[in-house]
């Protein structure tokens, strides 16, 4: 399972970076989205995958039995997902306004601030 996820994550990073290197504004945003998904999956995988062992203390026990799924990475991912939702929404609005203001979605044309 880890191996499959490793390939999925690698593919997502590669696709994200490829999209970010394109000149179109929309593709840039898709690339950012893919990258943040890849990072979330990476946290999920790197923290270790444990199947069917929820971190719940069974009735009559005093402590957790050792192999259990770590809840913290999932909490981290939830936070990261919420943040990336907000950021993506803002980036989409910004891209639209930039398209309106500049008149094109070609990033190579957006260089009046670099001169």
């Amino acid at each position: 399972m880890e191996v499959i996820l490793a390939f999925v994550i690698g593919g997502l990073y590669a696709a994200g970076i490829y999209m970010m290197l394109r000149r179109s504004l929309v593709k840039l945003l898709i690339g950012l989205g893919l990258l943040s998904h890849a990072a979330n999956l990476l946290i999920f995988t790197a923290a270790g995958l444990t199947r069917a062992r929820p971190p719940v203390i069974a009735a009559g026990e005093a402590a957790l039995a050792p192999p259990f799924a770590d809840p913290l990475p999932q909490a981290l991912i939830l936070t990261a997902i919420v943040i990336s939702l907000g950021v993506t929404a803002f980036a989409l609005a910004l891209a639209y306004r930039a398209y309106k203001a500049v008149g094109t979605d070609d990033l190579d044309k957006m260089k009046s601030t670099d001169q």
Binding site: M20, L25, L28, L32, L35, S36, A38, A39, N40, L42, I43, F44, T45, A46, A47, G48, L72, P73, L76, T79, A80, I83, G86, V87, F90, A91, L94, A95, R97, A98, A101, V102, L107, M110, K111, S112, T113, D114
Partner: protein
Amino acid sequence: MTLLLPLPLLIPMLTAIITLLAYRSRRVQRWVSVSGAAALLAAALWLLTEVWHAERGIQAMQIGNWPAPYGITLVADLFSAIMVTLAGIIGLAVALYSLASIDPAREAFGYHPLYHFLLMGVCGAFLTGDLFNLYVWFEVMLMASFVLLALGGERGQMEGAIKYVTLNLMSSVLFLTALGLLYGLAGTLNMADLARKFSGLAPAQPTGLVTTLAILFLVAFGIKAAVFPLFFWLPASYHTPPVAVSAVFAGLLTKVGVYALIRVFTLIFVHEPGFTHTLILIIAGLTMVTGVLGAVAQSEFRRVLSFHIVSQIGYMIMGLGLFTPLALASSVFYIAHHIIVKTNLFLVSGVVNRLGGTFELKKLGGLYQTQPGLAMLFLIPALSLAGLPPLSGFFAKLGLVQAGLAQGEYAIVTAALGVSLLTLFSMMKIWNEAFWKTPVVSDQSTVNSEHASQSVSGGQWVLLLAPIVLLAATTLAIGLGAGPAFALALRAGEQLMNPALYIEAVLRASGMP
């Protein structure tokens, strides 16, 4: 005592919420904004004195009383407290300046709440003791800065914002990636706990993965701190928003990246300084040189200043690369000096724009004749930036050079001295073009300038100049009182070089042995 640590977070949050609720009344928003900023400065000064006088030096508290490696920790050592105080000073100065320089349309669309959310994010990043929490504060700060940068929707702002947003989000993704791998490796993200786990790493043990992670963090924070070769977003975006926004960005945002670099590379990744810190030193040298060369080539007031930010970041991380108590103390001193001076220069550029109608140095001129007082107010931070005694920049550079010589790193010392000469050159270029030369006549700009100077009323003048005078006085005070100021920085540097104190303070606060 338990109230004190979260106070620099609660005050800006409350201020932002109140200004948000009072969105109908511009007058209420403005009053609340300034008094909130003043309260933040007061709380920050209180925190600084408390940390300075405290017996153990470092204050820590656990949010929600969850013990340390599990809950979120707030920590204030001397370095954090100094940074929060600086944020308070800049917060108040720019809040005042905004009253006279931000147009009513921007105020109506939430300038004041965003400004205080930005300050909250900055203070949060300085105070947190947990790496994931640091990521969250980074995002709070970034979200506010994105909107502040884009607010107004002019074409230049949009183009600058696209670059700024893209590269900062890229850096956040790298940071998140590094966090995921670090959690997989160490099983914790509490900084003190991480430091304790990694301090046991003997040189014989395989540390390759830890070093790789260190480099991932270096890249992620390096983008935010705008080091070579990751700084391109900064000069492309910092000159596009209104001056007040530029000034607060220039003063505080990149320094949060520098703060994170110093924190992580003094506390957690100290297992292989021969590689990581030498790399930082090389980056520092290249950052200084490329930044200043970029500045020399520019002829727009705020773009010159933006490139100087990049150059100055090099000095700050030079102290980190040298990695001795004196070097880190000089870095802390340099950051303090730079934040005040750079913000002040941006504020002056705004007044110059008000008077001359443009930021283009070629079209300005003759301001020394009409405004000798303003010219003096420009000279103080400008000469301080270049490092002339007895201003604050001189002592900051002196400390770094001494630390470099003590370590035998002659190449970086040469670079530092050469770059400060070029800094003086480009500050003199601004002086000659904007203040000294005879004004350009029969041009569009003179028409603009008459129009612009008429629109500045007496009350606005006070609001524009008061923060500049305040910051210039602070620069002078740091320079003239360099002894006590440097003693403060030295103690911060010693604390940074002794992570055991930090670890002990955090884990003791949670009752762990």
